[in-house]
Symmetry: C2
Subunit: 341 residues, 2 copies
DNA sequence: ACCCATTATTAACATGTGTTAGCAACGTAC
DNA sequence: GTACGTTGCTAACACATGTTAATAATGGGT
């Protein structure tokens, strides 16, 4: 229409100084008339970059967005995206497969949530040469990762409950999914279990001595599980150690509904220390991990990897016990006649 | 390497039945050896679709993810993505411009949050022929949109507070941003203000008669604003109507910290009815809007538009007042000597 | 008038795919 | 032995860009 080559059009948009003003204006005029603008995908294809970070998620989007943990984590990732001008692509499993989702994501790299280094997804990313960072996995030599010292956090909170005199306890844990049968606990959950077990062993107890319940990490599941736990009348626990704050939220609600007071009748502790933990009444005793910092660090590592800078960085983030109002001494009436009391 | 054409390779991956088993196996073997797999971007370019929905956001990613409102909204959008096998691309402003962000998003369509039909972004999307749906805008003929009947919600909650005898009230509102100066209130905020004004007029009052404070919609801003409001000793309000739940959360906290009881000393109401509203103590009186359903509907409309089906659907979602524990009769001591009491 | 330098513009290539029309080869029926 | 349908594969095109090296045009100096 203007009578110039495609290259001239490209110059008009990308390096206008290389064209005479007259030609440039003619091109822009024509572009406006035709409604033309450079195609996003073609541009990305040619440039070999998308200006977008992917987050490879282990669950459906609906479940992820419902989970305040991820809201916090993605806040951290989002901070880095904001700074660097990246968009954020959330990539849930496709037909229940994280592996199948990979080829449908137009991203420069992935933050991979909750996968161990030996998973097929990791091999696939390596094969494709897509940069990635593992989060909540287990440190492994040639793979960048960001992890949390869950074990010491779990040890600390368990010890805290034990020091308050509790012995009849329930461990409200996260469902490890089907993979557990073959491989046992892994990653953060394995570390948390180990921490609990370690603290127990120091008073001569064992994971067998406490009531272990495993449910999906939602508020509702925490609610139901707590109700079920308290129903077993004679063996009802005096403390519930939840391995996730949302489970603890649900448990506190359930106890309220049962007419039980927290912490006077039953102590409840969480894990993660979500912002909400300090909003609720009673304020929740929980293990703090720097969730947003975890997201930030992972995204920073990923950006480095995309730029081809740093090679295989690892980061282990600490935890700390935040004692608030939901944990207290075991009730006097219940503290007698129990093992190790 | 195999000695076949590129087309054959394409067939091997996409319609294997059109190739003889021998050739196909040879191709796969070579692909494995070379680490080849079809390029995502090229595939999208040729197919003309990305299997990805975009959400065009008015704020930085970090701010968005911190906001429980968006968590809920994106849960709804996410549900549809899950069902339809789409990924979700979060597109924050690029260098403070939503317009600039558009060409960097590889998506099949946009859910556009909080923009009016006359904004440049909307024109740009139309020009590019990218399907989109406006959310929290104002209904407009040729543009698909999903809106909420904020006005009646605001009217109801204001009337509720008035019926409880309050007259000295503060309206804790959301900062409308710089655009307000030129164009006045728009969209949901305009409707909410109108609803409040309408309810006030029914008792002979006016927006001028109440204390209007406008702050960014964060918990911390709500906290600070509430503290400032109560500081003006003789004119301190007996009720705070917040136009957003997070602002109300912050306000409740501030009142606690000031040693004031909610609702005995001061009533507080929210807007949105986030899930958290029912978790907090006191449980928050709030205007419920179906946030997740809003996201679902928007995404459904968008998918229709992408498929080229339905043309310009509109949806107006209702609101309802949820009265809980944070609102009560005006304290006896304060109910005398006030205008219209 | 001629050479050179500078600037404006373009042809050709590279990024990787999916699709369509068509060409060989091959077997089968008559 | 020839006409015909089937199978297996390929050449050419389309999707749209950005980049580089080469070419055309222009003006100025001698």
């Amino acid at each position: 229409m203007v009578g110039v080559s495609r290259s001239a059009v490209s110059f008009a948009f990308n390096s206008p100084e290389r064209l005479s003003v007259a030609t440039r204006d003619r091109i822009f005029a024509a572009a406006k008339e035709l409604g033309y603008s450079p195609n996003t995908l073609a541009r990305m294809l040619q440039a070999g970059q998308t200006q977008s970070l992917g987050v490879l998620l282990p669950q459906n989007l609906a479940k992820i967005m419902e989970n305040p943990y991820y809201a916090r984590f993605l806040t951290g990732v989002g901070q880095v995206c904001d700074e660097q001008g990246f968009t954020l692509l959330l990539t849930p499993p496709l037909r229940d497969s994280m592996l199948k989702a990979i080829p449908y994501a137009a991203v420069d790299g992935f933050v991979v949530c909750g996968l161990e280094h030996d998973r097929g997804e990791v091999a696939e990313l390596q094969r494709r040469g897509i940069p990635f960072v593992l989060v909540d996995s287990s440190p492994w030599a040639d793979v960048p990762s960001v992890d949390v010292d869950d074990e010491s956090g779990a040890r600390e909170v368990t010890r805290h409950i034990l020091e308050l005199g509790h012995r009849r306890m329930a461990l409200l844990s996260i469902d490890p999914g089907p993979e557990r049968a073959e491989r046992g606990y892994r990653g953060p959950l394995a570390r948390r279990m180990a921490g609990v077990a370690d603290a127990l062993s120091q008073v001569g107890m064992d994971l067998k001595d406490i009531n272990l319940v495993e449910v999906p990490a939602t508020r509702m599941d925490g609610y139901r599980a707590a109700k079920a736990l308290m129903a077993t009348a004679e063996a009802a626990p005096t403390a519930i150690i939840a391995l996730s704050d949302i489970l603890a939220f649900g448990a506190v609600d359930a106890l309220h509904d049962l007419g039980l007071r927290v912490p006077e009748d039953v102590s409840v502790t969480g894990f993660d220390d979500l912002p909400e933990s300090a909003w609720l009444r009673p304020r929740l005793t929980s293990v703090r991990q720097a969730i947003a910092a975890k997201g930030r660090t992972a995204a920073d590592f990923l950006i480095s990897a995309i730029r081809g800078e740093d090679q295989h960085p690892h980061q282990l983030l600490g935890t700390s016990l935040i004692v608030r109002d939901s944990s207290a001494r075991v009730p006097a009436a219940q503290s007698t006649g129990l093992p190790n009391a």
